[in-house]
């Protein structure tokens, strides 16, 4: 199908959607819906139909849509009340509009009399009188949408004066709207032979130069047979944002010299342009879009009009590369991912049934099933890969942040990024931006030393922050490293003691001290700085990483710097889980949180009164949390020696042991939302479906630990209250 015909089909499809939207909206309003967004959506529906119809020159449809739209606009602006009677008319008008759409589509006839009748009714709704019909006349000169070889209209005006003198002085507003003097001059160049004079007399001393201000003015002589209208049209977009005078050349000659100081040497013109460009480059982050305003390229100066020059100033126009990518609705991809998730579950269920049926491992059925499993995995991986995107989109935002923080702290910083092409799930990328921003701020504000200190330590004044991404064993690993002074462990420890986070006599390893910065309530800045002290600490960073199923660790070397390492899953649709049993229930614990599993011995477990217990793990005591009790599956504690303990590391690097009845095994599970049909349940992160077809709950380890400790009790209470 030719592309235009395909778009025409799209238009009619879209019309059907818009008509449905229109009708639903009007019905909702009739039922009492007063949401302004409803009337907006109704208006947009008709507006879109009109817009598309105009492009295809469907004049009858455009005319009626226009009258309809005008009435809806009145309603949208509150001048027309949506009474039932009005809505009845609008609903009937919607039917007529639908008739017109179908007529335009299949060439059938419309009831002209009925259309005219409704159009009159719609106009009668307009409190300002029936003006809509006339207005539409003004929009009738809609050209056809045709694809002909590109050509730029060169006005062939009757020979008037032999040329024009154009004085042009941009105001700052012109540049603020991303218009460019250079481009306007180039456009003038298309109209005839031009000579450009730059007036730089307004340019202040370099030190007083405001990069946002406009200092320059130009006087351009255009010779040839261009008329005044086409000259003024060049400045159409900047009307009001510049001073503009257009006068016939003959008249100017009679007036004598222009008042501006002409700078006629094009070399000098460029020098000033380059100068200004440098000033701008210093004052503002460079951007490929920012052509310095005073850089009329030599090509634009004194060139004959060239109507055939390509629209693409950066090179020859060329055909887009053949279909290397396609755009797909995210919804479709997610539907596919859901289906593949079901396939994985089904395949697991089938395997389990076959095993139960007692087929031998080497039997044809079992082997076929193995192949199916392999294939299923591959399909799953491939489908997940569709949602994957390079981390570039979030890495790209960091250079600007680094410049800002560097400026605020007065520390020169160089940002080095690596692995921008590393891919990970779109949602992971979206949710990485905040923690990364915070970590990079921290790295500069707290990690890097002042230039003086660096000099004293024999380091270059410029600090380096490295941001890297790489795939490692099925996960993405992102590192933020600085070459600063490393963590000041003395200070961190004393702050932690001061804040009551650790006992004054606690014997902590270097690693444990470094990890204190992740504890809630820890903030290294005794001076709460503007940069890092926005009320969030590393605990928040850690929590957001964990919410993504990730882990964050720190390693630090005194005098050499610190490295934060984040390891994240490549997708949020599946999770590596440890399947456990608790009081007859099957539960899944995310493997990322589990440090090790152990079989408690009687001598290791000690009661602290009530149901509180601790377990000794190589000289340290960690809380032992009975998962069955925490989730309310049983009233009394399980004999620890009858169960298995999962040593986990939760928020703030704090450790705890979760006591479960038994471990069934490890497997990748498909994450299913509980909230979709129910809601969040405390202690439960999500659900999954196991091989036997039953739902198993995935543990929210941090919440279980927090609730069991009585820490974070506010949230726990609120959640518990909610379920009552």
């Amino acid at each position: 199908m030719d592309p235009l015909a395909a778009i025409r089909e799209t238009f009619f499809q879209e019309c059907e959607e818009q008509l449905a939207e229109l009708e639903n909206g009007l019905l909702a309003m009739e039922a009492g819906d007063t949401d302004p967004e409803t009337i907006n959506a109704v208006f947009r529906a008709v507006h879109s139909i009109k817009g598309g119809a105009g492009a295809f020159s469907l004049e009858a449809l455009v005319r009626f849509a226009h009258v309809f739209e005008t009435a809806l606009d009145e309603m949208r602006s509150g001048r027309l009340a949506p009474t039932n009677e009005v809505l009845k008319t609008l609903l009937r008008a919607a039917d007529v509009l639908a008739d017109h759409v179908r007529a335009a589509h299949d060439g059938s006839a419309v009831d002209e009399a009925h259309t005219a009748e409704l159009a009159e009714e719609l106009k009668a709704l307009d409190p300002n009188g029936a003006t809509a019909g006339e207005e539409s006349e003004g929009e009738e000169d809609w050209g056809d949408f045709e694809f002909k070889p590109m050509s730029v209209d060169v006005p062939a005006a009757p020979a008037g004066p032999s040329g024009w003198r154009v004085s042009f002085k941009p105001r700052a507003d012109l540049y603020a709207k991303a218009n460019e003097a250079a481009l306007l001059l180039r456009e003038l160049g298309r109209l005839g032979q031009t000579t450009v004079e730059l007036d730089a007399s307004g340019l202040p001393a370099l030190t007083e130069l405001d990069p946002e201000a406009a200092y320059l003015a130009w006087t351009v002589t255009v010779t040839g047979d261009a008329d005044e209208t086409s000259i003024r049209e060049v400045f159409e977009f900047v009307d009001g944002d510049c001073e503009l005078e257009v006068s016939p050349l003959a008249a100017v000659a009679a007036e004598g010299e222009a008042s501006a100081t002409p700078v006629e040497d094009p070399g000098e013109t460029l020098d000033i342009g380059a100068l200004l460009a440098r000033v701008q480059a210093v004052a503002e982050p460079p951007s490929p879009q920012q052509v310095p305003p005073a850089a009329p390229a030599p090509a634009a100066v004194a060139t004959p009009a060239d109507p055939s020059s390509p629209p693409d100033g950066q090179g020859q126009p060329r055909k887009p590369e053949a279909g290397a990518t396609i755009r797909v609705d995210l919804e479709r991809v997610d539907r596919l991912i859901d289906l593949v998730g079901e396939l994985v579950i089904n395949q697991a269920m089938l395997s389990q049934r076959v095993m139960e049926a007692g087929f031998a491992r080497a039997s044809g059925v079992a082997m076929g099933l193995d192949e199916l499993e392999q294939l299923t995995r591959e399909i799953q991986d491939s489908v997940m890969a569709i949602r994957a995107q390079p981390v570039k989109s979030v890495f790209q935002r960091m250079p600007r942040l680094v410049r800002e923080v560097a400026a605020m702290t007065g520390k020169p910083v160089r940002l080095v990024t690596e692995g921008e092409g590393t891919e990970v799930d779109k949602t992971v990328i979206e949710r990485l931006a905040d923690p990364l921003t915070h970590m990079i701020r921290n790295a500069i504000d707290h990690g890097l030393e002042s230039p003086e200190k660096r000099a004293a330590a024999g380091k270059p004044a410029e600090g380096v922050v490295r941001l890297t991404a790489a795939h490692r064993s099925g996960r993405i690993v992102i590192e933020v490293a600085d070459d600063g002074g490393g963590i000041n462990r003395e200070r961190v420890k004393s702050i932690a003691i001061e804040k009551g986070l650790v006992a004054p006599d606690a014997a902590l390893s270097d690693e444990e001290i470094d990890n204190l910065i992740f504890m809630p309530g820890f903030s290294t800045a005794s001076e709460v700085s503007d940069i890092s002290g926005r009320g969030v600490g590393m605990d928040v960073v850690r929590r957001s990483i964990q919410a993504l199923g990730g882990r964050i660790t720190i390693s630090s070397r005194p005098g050499k710097g610190s490295t934060f390492t984040m390891s994240l899953p490549l997708t949020l649709a599946v999770l590596d889980g440890m399947v456990v049993s608790v009081q007859g229930q099957t539960l899944v614990a995310p493997i990322t949180a589990i440090v090790e599993t152990l079989l408690p011995k009687a001598g290791d477990v000690h009661s602290l009164g009530g149901s509180a217990r601790v377990i000794a793990i190589r000289d340290t005591y960690v809380p032992l949390i009975d998962v069955g009790m925490a989730l309310g599956y049983r009233a009394g504690p399980l004999d620890a020696t009858q169960g298995v303990a999962l040593l986990i590391e939760g928020e703030g690097g704090a450790r705890a042991a979760l006591l479960v009845d038994a471990i069934q095994g490890q497997r990748q599970v498909v994450i299913k939302s509980l909230e979709a049909n129910y809601r969040q349940v405390p202690g439960v992160a999500a659900a999954t479906i196991l091989g036997d077809g039953r739902v198993a709950l995935i543990l929210d380890i941090d919440t279980i630990v927090a609730v069991s400790r009585g820490a974070d009790s506010l949230r726990a209470e609120k959640r518990l209250a909610a379920t009552g």
Binding site: D144, M150, K177, P311, P317, Q396
Partner: protein, 121 residues
């Protein structure tokens, strides 16, 4: 490398028309369905020029232009608005928000490309 044009329009028909016209003219085209989506695509694709509709759900053209202009990184990106009407009020509001120029719908491909050439290097 050819220039990238970001088109922001809630109408699929209009998006496809813009894409056809612009790809024929040698531009690379990236698309968004409304202002919010436009901001996402903007961050990911760094277009040379933006062409945006005004009346859109979630975030309209005015809001979108203001957001774009409030980010120093994108201050220099030319933005052309599509107006169905040659409505002076909308045009002025768009300019106040920071629009570089406008294209009157229904556009013809020659005028569209011409407008882009006028604002982009």
């Amino acid at each position: 490398m050819s220039m990238t044009v970001l088109t922001v329009d809630d109408s699929r028909t209009m998006r496809e028309m813009l894409r056809l016209a612009l790809t024929e003219a040698g531009y690379r085209v990236v698309q968004a369905e409304d202002g919010l989506h436009g901001l996402e695509v903007l961050a990911a694709e760094a277009p040379t020029v933006i062409v945006t509709d005004i009346n859109m759900p979630r975030m309209d053209g005015f809001g979108f232009i203001e957001e774009v202009r409030s980010d120093p990184q994108y201050r220099g990106v030319p933005i052309l608005v599509l107006t169905t009407e040659s409505d002076a009020e909308k045009k002025n509001r768009a300019r106040m928000a920071g629009a570089t120029g406008w294209i009157v719908k229904p556009f013809n491909p020659v005028k569209l490309v011409d407008a882009i050439r006028r604002v982009a290097a």
